[in-house]
């Protein structure tokens, strides 16, 4: 399948501008302080170290989540449960590793199976029973959080397992493993979507589901699939997060991450109503969010307060995507050529 040709400016433009702006801001701060803090990347023990590496590492979970969320939003839906599913993955893996003594490949596989199944349940509710996505996934979110706590009996479980810990903390050829995982996942998804007709089908379902069905598309199967994929992504992200802190915290794992993922997708150019989507845009959006969080942290802003600039960013993005603002801006800067 050929790439969809865009008839307007690339939607990647804005998130890239935002990212560039933040990077420049950090560089400016470093110049003032007189030392390179932000762009300093060093090699230690064969590992890459530095703030940009940290950002990529920490942001990998958000990026993976955003990948799954992109496809769901592209079909006109949304999945509020992915944060809770992250917690479920962590809880399941932790309990299997510590209380049941299974090896880490088994724990990982089972955890992923569970979250994929969770995604399938959401998908079934939405696609087969026709429940509104916000409602169905809201329920899944509430129940999922309860299940995560149930699995560990309400405890925060510490994990001591070298193999499992590698997932979130290990390096491959100097690059953090989580970053490699993101790239692998992205390329796999991208190739699958564009080399088969799946990408076209997803965009069609989001654009006009009725017309797609009447044209013979198996819309139910497709919609279920995107939620299953979202569940898988949530599981991977959850395992990375749990491995990173070497503990499963059923109360705080994945908290509010679905909102960050939705935000990343919207900033990346995919409309909330569905249709055309851009995986790369969502990755950049997630990266932008992470850079913002890290920048604010370096500026001494408490993480709890960092949500304020996030909010301003969302509003700015929404306004820019709104036709009304665009018309107003067009009125201020009349273009010479139509």
């Amino acid at each position: 399948m050929s790439k969809p040709v865009r008839h307007s400016r690339s939607p990647l433009l804005w998130p890239l501008i935002g990212l560039a702006f933040l990077i420049l801001l950090n560089v400016a701060m470093d110049l003032r302080a007189g030392e390179w803090k932000f762009l300093k990347i060093t090699m230690l023990d064969g590992h890459l170290y530095g703030l940009p590496v940290d950002i990529l590492n920490q942001g990998s979970r958000g990026m993976i989540l955003a990948l799954g969320m992109t496809l769901i939003i592209a079909t006109g839906g949304v999945d509020l449960a992915v944060g809770s599913l992250m917690a479920v993955a962590g809880s399941v893996a932790a309990v299997l590793l510590t209380k049941q003594g299974f090896s880490w490949p088994v724990a990982v596989t089972v955890a992923l199976a569970v979250t994929t199944l969770g995604g399938a349940v959401s998908g079934g509710l939405v696609a087969q029973l026709g429940v509104q996505p916000i409602v169905a996934t809201l329920i899944a979110m509430v129940v999922g959080r309860g299940v995560a706590q149930l699995v560990t009996s309400g405890d925060v479980v510490i994990i001591k397992n070298a193999g499992f810990e590698f997932l979130g903390n290990g390096f491959v050829f100097g690059v953090p493993f989580s970053v490699i995982l993101v790239m692998v996942l992205y390329f796999a998804a991208h190739s699958f979507l564009r080399k088969t007709a799946a990408g076209l089908f997803i965009e069609a379902v989001g654009d006009n589901e009725t017309a797609s069905r009447f044209a013979g598309l198996a819309a139910v199967r497709l919609k279920t699939f995107v939620y299953v994929f979202g569940g898988l992504c949530a599981g991977i992200a959850g395992l990375l997060a749990t491995s990173n802190i070497r503990a499963a915290d059923p109360y705080r794992a994945g908290l509010n991450m679905e909102l960050d993922a939705i935000f990343a997708v919207v900033v990346g150019g995919t409309a909330l109503t569905g249709g055309r989507f851009w995986l790369m845009g969502s990755l950049v959006g997630a990266l932008l969010l992470q850079t913002l969080t890290t920048t604010l942290y370096n500026l001494g802003v408490a993480p709890a307060v960092a949500t304020v600039p996030k909010a301003v960013l969302i509003i700015a993005v929404c306004l820019m995507q709104s036709d009304k603002t665009r018309n107003w801006l067009r009125g201020l800067f009349p273009r010479r050529s139509a």
């Binding site: 399948m1 050929s2 969809p4 040709v5 008839h7 080399k195 088969t196 007709a197 799946a198 076209l200 089908f201 965009e203 069609a204 654009d207 006009n208 009725t210 017309a211 797609s212 069905r213 009447f214 044209a215 013979g216 598309l217 198996a218 249709g275 055309r276």
Partner: protein, 498 residues
Amino acid sequence: MRGIGKKFPGVVALDRVDFTVRSGEIHALLGENGAGKSTLIKVLTGVYAPDNGEIALAGLCIRPQSPKAAEMAGVSTVYQEVNLIRSLSVAENLTLGRQPGRLGFLNWKEIRRHAREMLARLEIDIDVDAELGSLSVALQQMVAIARALDLKAKLLVLDEPTASLDEKEVAELFAVMRRLRGESMGIVFVTHFLDQVYAVTDRITVLRNGTLVGEFPTAELPRLALVSKMLGREVHDVAGRTAEAVAPSPLGSPALLTTHGLTRRGAIQPIDLEIRSGEVTGLAGLLGSGRTETARLLFGIDQAEAGEIKVKGANAQFDSPRDAIRLGLAFCSEDRKTEGILPNLSVRENLIFALQARRGAWRPLSTEEQTKWCDHSIAALRIKTADAETPIKNLSGGNQQKVLLARWLATRPALIILDEPTRGIDIGARGEIEQLINKLRADGMAVLLISSEIEEIVRNSTRVVVLRERRKTGELNGADIETSKLMQAMAGGHTPHE
């Protein structure tokens, strides 16, 4: 209204249009699609502000800034789609926004009483506490009209009010309109049913391409003259049916698709059909007779409650459109906006979509195959588009319809169902589509043609199935297929009213 002008980006919708309605008159506003009818109405009812010109009602200059302002000025409007709140009761819908009450608190007893009064004025009998959504569309229309009349309206605008009404309901509506005319109300009647124009209106105003063509007393403007003014050219007598083009397939040849006792409650009574390859089967009937419902059953959009469908002699069950498509069916819906186009996707993606859907995700069409089919279709159907990558929503209605047709033709169906294929399309494109239908038939395809335009059915069909009130009431073949016989069959054995 004098000298009304209105421009939108890229198009002049209205250019110095004058429009006059007298009190105690039913005045028809006519024009083909794109003539400016609905824009003029929207200016009158406050939805749009005109760029130039002025409006005067009963001698007073008015400049409605919103629908509510237009209402207050004395212009009441009833729209084609029932624009009421289906989840609320009849009484609420009648009084919403103007409920009687004291100190901000509503007086429900008074609301109900007032509602009953409003309905009584039109001699309609409905339970005011019933949920609006539970009533038939016709009754919902009546409620909309009752609401529109409640204010001391001087002018009543009816925008395509008869689109979803059956004959009896149309007659009732006309009786109400005549009564209101007797009370010196001015009524603007926007419609495309020429019969109805001649039945009930006093004067006609014709618009074309955003300009005023003229205003005429109805009695002095014969049909052909009216149509030629709407089209802006002399209408050639539409070519009659050529004998060989519509000769039926030889007797005894097996039907491609047959149904026996196919039925669904509320949609269609048990119906038997025979559709043959190489023929155009016309499905005729008034609105509400069950034509689209039958098509939906044949294509698997709705499921039948009883009866059977046989394709090439073998029993078939259609649980979804996919099943029907797999057996070689295709369906071009009458509502292309909601059921047809993928608006933001390109022309190319829309064109190849049905074919791709049938092949599945794992067998994508190569770029060469897609380009080949696109170029072929755009040329063959004369689709007007900048290029194949333009989003289809930028195309005109007629060209969108052509893309949808091409989409289905790509799947090389054995039977294609066309539901109102020329609706909203200008005369030039209409001819092209009718030629295409003829070619498909000649190539051996089976075509099921649904149309509300009797002449279109007569011109193109090999045989005609007539539906009335959700039942098959007859079938016409060969020489019997002509306008008056068809109209008689559709109307049920008596000449249509007035």
